[in-house]
């Protein structure tokens, strides 16, 4: 099976560690992902902001770039939902483009979804063997990207990480409410967007967790950026990073709630082990 990593422009720019973690975890699961070099942006900013024709051009690129692969995996819930739910509708019924879009939609998966439904990984087999290392593992809580709703994957991250023994996974109160990111909404209505983000951060703080696992790079950047401005101690990572850390594939970062705010907020970039 040829598997491609659909990196997304946002993760390449803002979350290289999440991509690294995705590669390492997939390899741990016996899949060696490839990274098609020509990929750029899936077109979501255009499709969400009134430029469907421009977005369709990028959608066509995506279909061509990922044509050789059997499966396409991405750490971004919302980019995944664009490919799955929006692409086909951009092209005329019966057209070759529509057919290509349907093919890509059928083989594109969000990272945890791919592990769970395609590789059929039993998360308990991902439990770290060295429990003493796990004891140092962070207390986590998960915020799922809203766009996982349409994929019927909203709320699936926390149970998976819990079964995979990724530290202590606490429930995030009011998880279903949007974090307020919303792409360009975050800059068009910054006050509303931030107010929602603040509410999410308050819920995060109430759990006592040190790490927030966000299944979308946009949500992660929004929440981490708000927290940094306010001096809230939080480390925002992707589900892949949580698993990679737990398995020791990526060096664990400073996560102790007792560590200084600075240390908790600006952890060292993980380095590959072995």
């Amino acid at each position: 099976m040829r598997v491609a990593l659909f990196t997304t422009c946002l993760a390449e720019a803002l979350a290289p560690r999440a991509l690294k973690a995705a590669v390492l975890v997939l390899e741990h699961c016996g899949v060696a992902p490839e990274v098609p070099l020509a990929q750029t942006c899936c077109g979501q900013p255009l499709l969400s902001n009134g430029l469907p024709n421009d977005g369709a051009k990028l959608a066509q690129r995506m279909c061509e770039i990922f044509a050789p692969y059997d499966a396409v995996v991405t750490p971004s819930g919302s980019c995944c939902s664009v490919v799955r739910e929006k692409y086909a509708g951009l092209f005329a019924e019966g057209s070759r483009e529509r057919a290509n879009a349907n093919v890509l939609a059928a083989k594109t998966f969000e990272f945890i979804e791919f592990l769970e439904t395609q590789l059929k990984i039993d998360p308990t087999t991902l439990k770290p063997k060295d429990c003493s290392a796990n004891a140092r593992c962070a207390t986590l809580t998960c915020h799922d990207a809203c766009h996982l709703r349409g994929l019927h994957r909203h709320g699936c991250t926390a149970p998976f990480l819990r079964s995979a023994g990724c530290g202590t996974v606490r429930d995030l109160p009011d998880m279903s409410q949007c974090c307020g990111f919303g792409g360009m909404f975050s800059t068009q209505f910054p006050e509303v967007s931030s107010a929602l983000g603040d509410e999410k951060l308050a819920h995060f703080t109430s759990t006592g967790a040190a790490v927030l696992v966000a299944s979308d790079t946009g949500c992660a950047a929004h929440l981490a950026g708000l927290a940094h401005r306010k001096g809230v101690a939080i480390r925002v990572i992707s589900p892949a990073e949580a698993i990679a850390e737990s398995l020791g594939l990526l060096a664990r970062e400073v996560t102790s709630a007792n560590a200084s705010t600075e240390a908790a907020m600006h952890p060292k970039n993980g380095t590959e082990v072995g």
Partner: protein, 495 residues
Amino acid sequence: MNELIAPPLPFDMKPRAREAVRDLKLQQFVGSATHLKDIHRGGIFDRDFGHDYDALRTVARDTKQHALDHLDELLEQFIANARASGATVHAATTGAEACEIALRIARAHGALSCVKSKSMVTEEIGLLPAFEAAGIKTLETDLGEFILQIDGDAPSHIVTPMIHKDRVATAQSFVRELGARYTEDPTELTMIAREHMRGLYRAADIGVSGANFLLADEGAAVICTNEGNFDLSVGGPPVHIVFVGIEKLIRGARDLAPFLKLLARSGTAQPLTVYTSFVRGPRRAGEHGGPKELHFVLVDAGRVGVLASEKRDLLRCIRCGACLNACPVYRKVGGHSYGSMYAGPIGAVLTPELERAQAGGGAGLANYADLPRASSLCGACYEVCPVKIDIPKFLLHDRARLRERGLSPKSEGAMLRLWRWLAERPMLFRLAIGAARLHARLLGQKDGSRAWLRAAPGPGAGWTQSRDLGMPTGERFRDWFATHAAKRDTKRGAR
């Protein structure tokens, strides 16, 4: 009309939204009420329908869509059957026409006072101001609407109109306007309103209400209330007028069940509203209650235009308010930020469309250009809609229309097109991302693996208004992967 829900056009949402976010009371009242309602809504559907919930919504969607697809036939049936039952049926193309019809009826009876039951369409057409201007003293009999009326306030939610107020404000209004003694006890407050209203029901010359459903095969209306105020407004006065949007038509009582199961559960997490009233024809010989004259005013006010548009699905809406309760943006900005009696997600798509259909041309979106953009597209509205209206799809549709007509910021459009141009050129795209990283590394505050910008240039300025932007400073993913993949392949080759 009240400027809160009928603002000067074009409407600018942003100042109201900014103000609402800072309004601590609004944040508390609207935030807690919507969260609670949304949780209870989910709870009652789980309890009563479990996995069948989705099937029930599908039935409701298809039933209402079928009715809309046959609206012309249903209208004819309804008119014939309502007339046969002794009611008078009027058709109004515009809101002004609907008010004029009502005023004509009122004048014919020399009416000076009116009791009015809650109705969204009467808010839409501005009936109350029209009656007041004609010297017809009108009492809102829904408790929430009554409190808003005496406060000169306006509804901010389809189902719970005074969601932005609390009982302290109500207590103060009752002291001020009704001379009541101060109490914050909800039961006592209700009793005060009840005392005030009871006599007025009996004395009123005319009763007015909306309707939740029209049954074509019986020429009857179905009205769902929790306070029984509709039954009093139809039982007392000699004349009653039902105002109703034409999209409320369904074939008959046989189609009612899915809607009654969904409406109250979606809106207030009740199995049914306390009262589900059926009205068919005026008082008949031998009957003791009911109006001597019953009028139906069938209101178009843009609906026929919506029906002919790509957004016809919006007419399926049964005004349950579930999308408002579930919407993160509504929870933060409240109803008045939408500048319409229809707030929240459904309002954001319906308001410009009704306005467009009435005013013609591109007026609707030009007048409400902020509404389609005021959404994070989280999809919560679609998830809770009992008739499965894909609201996010219509928001995107409107965003595209805004862009086509040059109603979105030009600089934003240019930037997005530049983005597309870059995204078609992978080398340049990488360079652009690299430039952004370099910018952060040179100007940002270095901190572990990231450089944080407190003020980003250009399109990033909106971002850094309230958030920092953290750009990674370490190795680029692609460089790491190139080395990693080479190692991986060597290992494989060695095996």
